[in-house]
């Protein structure tokens, strides 16, 4: 009989993603309630070395499908591998952490299995032995509690919503190689282009200065936000409005369809606080909103509000913090 929780181990360039460790934390807590082991599905080429890290983060068993054909992610090659692992592990629950890979992988896998999937959940609880998830809908205006049916139940967890376990180097676990015959799928990855900013990655930054439509097109305006971020040792983000306007590159977008962040400090500059944006930063511990419109929605979620013209306040704040830090 199916039992335990399996976590899909998402990795990039030889590292396990933070979200996967958060999912392992959540898996541990769920497994404590529904019983059964916590396992991880590790798929890729030359990734077996990551198994130990997964065990340290809470996995009891790591199923590894390691093959050259799995070098680059495509759903055509990863789906059979995952399918084989899930068949072997027979979990009651499968957890994915939300990423641009699992966005592609999880739904297709759920359909292949003919089970229900709840995407982008922020909270999980157990009732009558079944897992129920909360997920924001309508851009965060409403919250839905949902129960995916079938076995296993599947969930994709929004980043920064679950606590990872403290890594424990002494933890022991099994590594189970799973042999899958994977031929090269119909889809081929032929190129990869990075548009990376300097400074810390947005999702890793503990302090973020973020600009919206009110910043405008001028490069020097964005430069002001960068200067503040530099003083704070943080990164610069943007709302979708600013990205859509073409003022800043896509990877800076914070929001429901951009990056989800949960820094210690989030300074929202000239951002109105549309629900789509707040979905990406509501995990921030302290939100500071600077906006000339005191009615702006951002102030409802902010811890500190400054009503005024950012063009004056930001340079002054940069100067002030430079002196302080």
């Amino acid at each position: 009989m199916a039992s335990g929780v399996l976590v899909y181990a998402d990795h990039r360039e030889g590292s396990v993603l933070a979200g996967t460790k958060e999912a392992l934390g959540a898996a541990r807590r769920l497994a404590d309630q529904i019983g059964g082991p916590v396992s991880a599905a590790l798929i890729g080429n030359g990734v077996a070395g990551l198994a130990q890290e997964l065990i340290q983060s809470g996995a009891d068993t790591v199923y590894v499908a390691d093959a050259p054909a799995l070098d680059k992610y495509t759903n055509a090659t990863y789906l059979p591998a995952l399918d084989a692992i899930v068949s072997q592990a027979d979990p009651a629950v499968v957890l994915f952490s939300k990423s641009l890979v699992t966005l592609d992988l999880a739904p297709r896998f759920a359909f292949r299995r003919g089970v229900g999937l709840a995407n982008d959940v922020i909270d999980l609880k157990v009732e009558n032995g079944q897992v129920i998830a909360s997920r924001p809908v309508y851009g965060g205006s409403a919250m839905a509690e949902v129960l995916p049916e079938g076995t296993p139940q599947m969930f994709t967890i929004r980043g920064k919503t679950q606590e990872p376990l403290t890594p424990d180097p002494s933890r022991q676990g099994n590594v189970v190689p799973v042999s899958v015959t994977v031929s090269e799928g119909p889809v081929k990855v032929i190129d990869q282009q990075k548009e990376r900013a300097s400074g810390p990655k947005l999702q890793d930054a503990t302090r973020i200065v973020s600009g919206g439509r009110g910043i405008g097109e001028a490069k020097e305006n964005w430069r002001q936000l960068e200067e503040l971020a530099e003083v704070l040792g943080g990164a610069v983000g943007a709302s979708r409005a600013a990205v859509d306007a073409g003022w800043v590159p896509t990877h800076m977008q914070i929001g429901l369809t951009g990056t989800t962040v949960s820094p210690d400090l989030y300074i929202a500059v000239a951002i109105s606080g549309a629900v789509q944006h707040m979905a990406g930063c509501s995990g921030a511990k302290t939100i500071v909103a600077i906006n000339k419109d005191p009615e702006a929605a951002i102030f409802k979620q902010a811890r500190f509000g400054v009503e005024g013209d950012w063009k004056k306040i930001i340079p002054a704040l940069t100067k002030e913090l430079k002196a302080m830090m």
């Binding site: 297709r108 129960l147 119909p186 990855v189 990376r196 302090r207 629900v275 811890r303």
Partner: protein, 261 residues
């Protein structure tokens, strides 16, 4: 090139929070009065991508939507932008369909339309944000799929697809037929020409029920237990000051006091 675009009509995502209401008993969102529903924004990107491909390579675009009678407007919008035919699946049994039901109905509808080279969807819908239907549909149809897509080129029977990754994008080669779920990075949906608007106004949209498509009872895979508006309690502290400089200084001081910095 035969393209099928799946679109969904959604509540205007810019509906202000003050106008947003939920009927908790019925577990439904109450449509805000005076704010008309719109085409899901990512679906508009999918429509635009389809029309651009048609402009480059010729072909025919069929738009399919599962929804209430008002979703006819969403189809007309697609027609006005340059799509050729519309099919509305209006069936009270699927009014609150989950992703599994929706994908099954759409798959049946697509089979009823006939041959296709490419299916385009928006990467997700701004109401329920499930981001499942496109991938599920591809799985049901047994064709390759990619999401989220930021660019499409066609060379012969192969697609060259730009797929977003966390810090950039990768380029994939995908054989047709295939399904691509389009993201907003792909394009800027056009404003229809008047010719398009007029043609769409006259165009007839086929309406079918799920039964017409041979879809009988398809159950939900995800149960909705509860729907509510989360309470956000504002705990804001306003930073005041005579001048912007003073405001900045006060803000810095409070952040320090709260050990944020």
């Amino acid at each position: 090139m035969n393209i099928i675009v799946c679109v969904k009509q959604v509540q205007d995502p810019e509906t202000p929070a003050s106008q947003f209401r939920v009927d908790e008993a019925a577990k439904k969102v109450i449509p805000p009065p005076g704010i008309p529903p719109t085409v899901n924004q990512y679906d508009a990107n999918a429509i635009e991508a389809a029309v651009q491909l048609k402009e480059q390579h010729g072909g025919r675009i069929t738009v399919i939507s599962l929804g209430k009678d008002t979703a006819r407007d969403a189809i007309k919008q697609a027609l006005s932008m340059g799509c050729d035919a519309g099919l509305l699946i209006d069936d009270p049994a699927f009014e609150d369909a989950d992703a599994y039901q929706t994908a099954n109905v759409l798959a049946a509808a697509i089979k009823s339309v006939g041959d296709y080279d490419l299916i385009l969807c928006g990467r997700q819908a701004s109401d329920w944000d499930q981001a499942q239907v496109p991938q599920g549909l591809a799985e049901l149809l047994g064709i390759p799929s990619v999401t989220p897509v930021a660019g499409i080129e066609v060379t012969g029977t192969t697609l060259r697809v730009k797929r977003l990754i966390e810090d950039g994008y990768e380029v994939l080669e995908v054989p047709m037929p295939a399904l691509l779920a389009v993201s907003n990075e792909a394009n800027q949906p056009r404003y229809p020409t008047l010719k398009g608007i007029m043609a769409a106004a006259r165009a007839k949209v086929d309406v079918k029920s799920a039964a017409d498509l041979g879809v009988n009872a398809v159950g939900r895979k995800v149960q909705l237990l509860r729907l509510y508006v989360p309470k956000v309690e504002s705990q804001i502290e306003w930073i005041t000051g005579e001048t912007p400089e003073e405001q900045a200084a006060n803000l810095a001081r409070r952040l320090r006091e709260e050990r944020v910095i």
